[in-house]
């Protein structure tokens, strides 16, 4: 039994490679075998060429803060103990964007445009969650 109380992904054939990759310390996204487009969130089809063929490919985990907000209200009981907590929309260098949290920096010292890199936080035996920390700009 885990004492992790925040929402978790429901692992299935579609998303398991993403989460397995996180557990191994790599951020991976789908790359369309038809047109090469890198996509996230996970989807069975390429939104550009509609191909169903893809391969999981690891990305650098580097990016920038595209937008950034701080929750002062918990919409799930698992977050009550962490208020206020931040959510960032991260622009990955390779193109896709994803929601995540910025860790290791006080909420009021994160700025849109800041350079970030992925870190991994183990939640349960099965799930390790990708988060981001500030890094020196390139």
């Amino acid at each position: 039994m885990s004492d992790y109380i925040k929402p978790l992904p429901t692992l299935n054939d579609e998303n398991r490679p993403f989460w397995d990759s996180c557990r191994a310390g790599k951020l991976s996204v789908q790359q369309c075998s038809g047109c090469g487009h890198l996509r996230y969130p996970i989807s069975p089809f390429c939104p550009r060429c509609l191909s169903a063929d893809f391969a999981w490919t690891s990305v650098s985990g580097r990016g920038t803060v595209f937008s950034y907000i701080v929750f002062h209200q918990a919409y799930h009981p698992g977050f009550k103990g962490e208020l206020p907590y931040n959510v960032a929309l991260v622009q990955l260098d390779e193109g896709p964007r994803m929601y995540s949290n910025i860790v290791g920096t006080p909420n009021d010292q994160v700025r849109i445009g800041d350079a970030v890199e992925v870190v991994f936080e183990r939640a349960t035996d099965e799930v390790t969650i990708p988060k981001f920390r500030l890094r020196a700009a390139d």
């Binding site: 925040k6 969130p41 595209f66 849109i112 988060k131």
Partner: protein, 382 residues
Amino acid sequence: MSHPLSGFGAISGVGATAQGKLPGSTALSLAVEAFKRALDDSGLRKAQIDGLLTFSGQTAAEGQQNYLRLGETLGIDPRWTGTMYMGGATAGALVQQAVLAIQAGMATHVACVYGDAAATGGGVFNRSQGWGDPSSIWGYMSAAANSAMTAARHMALYGTTSLQLAEIAVACRYHASLNPDAVMRKPITIEEHQASRWIVEPLHLLDCCLVSDGGACIIVSSAERARDLKQPSVLLSGFGQGYTMETLGNPDWWYAPHQKRAVDDAYAMAGVGPRDIDVAQLYDNFTPSVLLWLEHGGFCKPGEAGAFVEGGRIRLGGELPVNTAGGNLSESFLEGWLHIVEGVRQMRGQCGPRQVKEAETCLVTGRGMALNCANALVLQKG
């Protein structure tokens, strides 16, 4: 050459129930009450309604079969019907669908109906969005989150401030203070906005809409038939829709660029531009939504809406009165249905102390499902 649909349709009746916390009411009872009021407003008899378009909202248990439930309850066997679910973009989309059906000869008088007991009947606004892995893994939840992301980026790119967002909340509340049917009527100040607690930073509590019980009904007819009915004619001079379906996949999603396409199409059909708009009802689930609509509506340039709303410009008596009944922020959160109702009443000249003098053209916008769905109507005095 004028567009063949411009001014073909008209809104011949509107009705709204009481709004707010209405214990004992249900989505069904509110929809029926709104329908009765709109019917009475129009002077039509129930037997003349041959189109029924509905929105199932948060609390109608029958969901997408809402049109069946309402048809049965209202005793209407329509020639044209359906239920659509686009959140705050539904009302405008249904009105547009009604015009298309009437123009095609598929219906004569179409009632668009909505009732919801979101405040007392268990409305849920805290979900995470999207498919597959939920963004709630990272705590990205609630209706406020998307607007907060928009506001934060608008602030970072353009220097927009929370004080400017406050101007929107204060203007809407002032208008609500002049509206006896509004839920929140006590005027607020910029300072009170700033002192209200954070919900999702950069949004304060007073940047957020209400959660309400209520119902509304909008009856659409051809302009030709509407002319012979009880109320002054309000023409649907132009309309348009736009969507951005990819959320994370589209780097511009936060800015809702499809809203500009919706307004531009509506302007083009009506043969008008932003300078012709006397009053605007701009969808305001959260204050940043109004910023985007002002920019997409061409009232100012991209990035300039923060400055635009300063100095009372969007208040009654200002250059562009916005949300003259109080909007979702202060009148009632009815998913934008009351924005259309208010637009119609402004064009009829029925708004009493909040009437915009000599108003002849009104822009009404709707948006829903986070930022994804949008539409615009240009209403004109007939």
